[in-house]
């Protein structure tokens, strides 16, 4: 279970939010309303005050990297630091299942990153997050660059993650996607959440 109390970050404020295992909250709102900033603050990527607790463990009771391995942020802009796709994965063997469900063959791991399209990058960025086995996924426009077929694949993977007891907070512009995945729908306006 993920609990957020009095979160205060740059331009964002979340007073009280709880998510149980298997919960998905979809956050909608105009660009610049603070959706990304909230997700980044939850992953401790930006400085924030307040209490965030995952399964009874408070954020500050562990190191930043330990916290981020459990609450994993996947941004709209995916970064790559090695030349080959496979070098970005912790366990390239175990990940082939997720890769397949996202529409890739295992050989995708040998591709050079420079050859990837924007959509492929976005799906592979989701795959490499799954590879690390997080408890919570903080997804920032995860299908922004994807066509309908690829979007369905990504939504399928997210759905399975929720079925297995994962927790998802999803920032999206697509109302139908928010309705399909979100158990609850919230709207972000000027850095504040409302139902």
């Amino acid at each position: 279970m993920l609990s957020i109390r009095n979160l205060r970050a740059h331009l964002v404020q979340v007073d009280d939010l709880d998510l149980d295992a298997g919960d998905c909250i979809a956050v909608m709102g105009p660009s610049g309303s603070g959706k990304s900033l909230m997700l980044r603050a939850l992953a401790d990527l930006d400085p924030a005050e307040g209490e965030i607790t995952l399964d009874g463990h408070e954020r500050m009771s562990m190191t930043g990297p330990d916290w981020r391995r459990q609450l994993m942020y996947v941004g709209p802009e995916s970064g790559w630091w090695e030349d080959r796709v496979g070098d970005h994965f912790e366990d390239p063997e175990a990940v082939t299942g997720v890769l397949q469900r996202l529409g890739f063959k295992a050989e995708a791991l040998t591709w050079p990153v420079s050859r990837l399209s924007t959509g492929e990058r976005q799906r592979l960025a989701i795959a490499r997050a799954f590879d690390r086995g997080p408890r919570v996924l903080l997804l920032d426009e995860p299908t922004g660059a994807l066509d309908q077929a690829a979007t369905a694949l990504v939504e399928g993977v997210i759905h399975d993650f929720l079925m297995d007891g994962g927790i998802v907070i999803l920032a999206t512009h697509a109302k139908d996607q928010a309705a399909r995945l979100g158990k609850r729908l919230l709207t972000m306006t000027d850095g504040r959440l409302s139902a």
Partner: protein
């Protein structure tokens, strides 16, 4: 040693300076547009070097540790300012200047003191005739190395921020996420020193060695001095660059292992 040098008259220098006049004429004729900067640079050099000659003469005559220390302070101040000036991106506040000056000063001064107290051993050990030129050479090279290293670090991290952020979001600690950037910055910092070591003697005769030979020194003795200075330069540049780059990495990240680009001027978002 100096007594053996052939003294130069003002006429000798004027004759050599005439070569620059030819340069200026060529520039005018070909419309290169560098006549003005050529004249300014030549005049500046002449005035600066003559002044330095007078200052050093007075300094060597005085034999005062405080005066020597004062000159060292001025050299360090200018070098620190130069480090900051060569950065495309600066840390907010005084951090660029602080990291540059402190690491460069520490590396250059400690290596110079080592050379003065163990290898050269002038009497007194702080004798300005030895301390100021040795420190000058080490300081100049450490300054170049540190400014190149910091510049590379900040530029590549800002340009590839998403590669850094992706690793941090996946739970990598800062020293792992920034390792390729640290490596690249260190390589750039040390490259001029390595290149000059490799080319020395084959492509170019180093200025200090040439000077000693012209002043009548035995070539093998001059080579030994040059080797000593090159080792000192290599050591100081390495120490200074490693310290500066790690200090800068610690400044652009925080104890929660976040990337803090808000601490580099004009790079936030």
């Amino acid at each position: 040693m100096t007594s053996q040098a052939i003294p130069l008259t003002a006429f000798d220098l004027a004759l050599a300076a005439f070569l620059l006049v030819i340069n200026g004429g060529l520039s005018l004729w070909l419309g290169l547009g560098i006549t003005r900067s050529l004249v300014i640079a030549a005049v500046r050099m002449t005035v600066q070097l003559l002044l330095v000659g007078l200052v050093l003469k007075a300094l060597f005559a005085q034999q005062s540790p405080w005066l020597t220390l004062g000159v060292v302070g001025i050299m360090v101040g200018f070098a620190g300012y130069e480090i900051m000036n060569r950065q495309d991106r600066k840390l907010t506040g005084w951090w660029s200047y602080g990291i540059g000056v402190s690491t460069m000063t520490f590396a250059a001064i400690s290596v110079t003191c080592l050379a003065l107290t163990t290898q050269l051993k002038p009497d007194p050990w702080w004798d300005a005739r030895y301390a100021v030129p040795i420190l000058g050479m080490i300081l100049g090279n450490a300054m170049t190395g540190i400014s190149l290293g910091l510049n590379t670090l900040f530029n590549t991290v800002v340009r590839e921020r998403w590669a850094v952020e992706a690793q941090i979001a996946l739970g990598f600690p800062r020293q792992v996420a920034l390792r390729p950037f640290i490596r690249r910055a260190l390589k750039t910092a040390l490259m001029p020193t390595i290149n000059s070591m490799a080319a020395t003697g084959v492509v170019s005769l180093p200025g200090m060695m040439t000077g000693q030979i012209l002043a009548g020194a035995d070539p093998v003795e001059a080579v030994k001095y040059q080797l000593l200075v090159m080792f000192l330069i290599g050591g100081a540049t390495g120490i200074g660059a490693v310290m500066a780059i790690y200090a800068a990495v610690w400044r652009i990240t925080d104890p929660r292992h976040r990337l803090r680009l808000d601490r580099i001027e004009g790079s936030d978002q």
